[in-house]
Symmetry: C2
């Protein structure tokens, strides 16, 4: 469809525009790149590219800027992923290795991503759906009050306070704790419901059965609720580098970033851990129509337990950003696997 040279012109336009933030003209293009043809020829190619919708001019007699479609083509066919340099990789690893707990891992990852890409970083906490149970603890706080603590293999801890329908003795509690753990430890969250289904029947006293049911339903509830993931964001100050047309651009982005639901969708409802780039209007959320999202899954083992990514202007350095995102995801995965 498009000749090799025209693709080359598009690549040059994207690169220049990303660098200068200004519409790029035919003359400047031939000066900065060895295209081997004259500005006039480039102009013809540009006209063709515009015809196809890959580039556009903000005003007549201004240079061209890439459209979303243009960026898409660039990402899919013209640009690779720029790998991190060895020193960069070492720095990433060192920085992440200092983390003391899960919160710290996530916090450090966010900072790192934001700094490397100079954009807004978003990191999802490791998901519970794919996690397994490491331990369930039940603590008696008062005669009819129990605290449930759930510990996952990724080091995440969730707790819930439970008001029991009837007082529950220490012995029964210990019994329940033991039974519960023997059934669910090492199992996946998704499998827990069936595994504990018949637990109440093991108890003699009717009141105890009621309490056990309450505890179990709280446990299941926790599993479900926490599947709606938490996430952490950072680097919002980088939004100020966007451009001059700020207030209109930055506001909806900040709003979107506060809506966890939006962000979670953004990272990708798809479960596949592959890197994904969404450009401009490809984002379902309207406020993010002038931003691109680069996301990828990361995981402690072979499969992804969560996602992370960055949000930036459509005019971003895609190869570099993708490289940074991929590298960070890889190292976070390693760190999680070790702990």
């Amino acid at each position: 469809m498009l000749s090799e040279r025209r693709l080359e012109v598009l690549r040059a336009i994207v690169q220049d525009y990303v660098g200068t933030e200004e519409p790029v003209g035919s003359k400047a293009l031939t000066e900065r790149h060895q295209l081997g043809v004259s500005p006039a020829t480039v102009r013809n190619d540009m006209a063709a590219l515009e015809e196809e919708g890959y580039i556009a001019q903000p005003h007549t007699s201004a240079g061209r800027i890439p459209t979303d479609k243009g960026y898409r083509l660039f990402v899919d066919r013209l640009a690779g992923v720029k790998p991190m340099t060895a020193p960069e990789r070492r720095a990433i690893q060192n920085f992440l290795e200092c983390a003391v707990d899960l919160d710290d891992v996530v916090a450090r990852t966010v900072r790192l991503l934001a700094q490397l890409t100079r954009q807004v970083a978003v990191v999802q906490y490791p998901s519970l759906t794919r996690s397994t149970v490491r331990h369930v603890e039940l603590l008696s706080m008062a005669p009819a009050r129990v605290m449930l603590v759930l510990i996952t293999d990724t080091g995440r801890v969730e707790q819930r306070m439970i008001d029991c329908p009837a007082p529950f003795g220490e012995a029964s509690l210990a019994d329940l704790r033991a039974r519960l753990n023997s059934r669910v430890v090492g199992r996946r969250f998704a499998d827990v419901p069936q595994l504990v289904q018949d637990l109440p029947e093991a108890f003699e006293e009717p009141e105890d059965r009621g309490t056990v049911s309450t505890v179990l339903s709280t446990l299941l509830e926790t599993l479900v609720e926490e599947t709606e993931e938490r996430l952490m964001i950072g680097g919002t100050a980088n939004l100020t580098r966007f451009g001059h047309d700020f207030p209109l651009t930055i506001r909806p982005v900040l709003e979107a970033l506060e809506e966890q639901v939006v962000l979670l969708k953004l990272l990708g409802e798809a479960k596949d851990p592959a890197m994904r780039v969404r450009i401009g209007h490809e984002n379902a959320y309207e406020g993010l129509n002038s931003t691109s999202v680069v996301s990828v899954g990361y995981g402690s083992g072979g499969e992804a337990v969560a996602k992370l990514g960055v949000v930036g202007p459509t005019r971003m350095d895609y190869p570099g950003t993708m490289g940074a995102v991929r590298a960070v995801a890889r190292y976070v995965g390693q760190i999680l696997a070790e702990s």
Copy 2:
């Protein structure tokens, strides 16, 4: 020093400027407020106020705007705290009562504060220093690996993985757990160090003693580390309402908001739970020189366990903001006390 009427003029200037965001002149003042005097008189008063440093004019022959000193006087002597209306209070209470766990309480508080004040909200997690221990749990993960889980009376949970110098039997672990809990449950964090000092001596085996020491030092470390508090922020999109001179104003603020350390200092190193307003240059951090911070302590009992507050432009509705902050702090305290 300043006559009653001059104070009245200052109040009028602050109110108008906060409302319109534009320098306010003598004529407009007499029109909008019943000062009972003519513009000329107001001009004299303004000259005096400017002389004293309470107001300033951005350029000759423009209206006046309050200085930091002017806002300070306004807050200290001219303005009260505007109480929330009954429906507002009910809404706050209802919204907070839906929270399921501590994270949720904090998250909801942030949203609430941001919405009520239309500014950036900052909420510190309940501090561990003043908290008491509700439970310490030790879980054996591997022969020489123990997980420490610490639960506070405010519902906060911290966990640490510990690599022991030598394998540690289940029996010893249970022993340690029991001893530890019997000593520290219900005690304040600050008192824990002395209480556990001689625990290793209770164990016969030298290797066990080593392990116990390791566990204890991790526990103490956790207490200290977590005293550097976590916090949650929200409502950053409200920053876009600041003004027209954005990029320069908003950037350092966003940067400051990412620096937890800065923010924690901001909320007030002082331990007193009283409401505090820091105006413009009163903030030690340079990037926040054009913002004001309203903070107050909140607590589950009589004393403050943490702080919360908002960050906004110096040109803010102080009475309203202070009212909202105070009300939210009060209700969060209640919620925490209940749980």
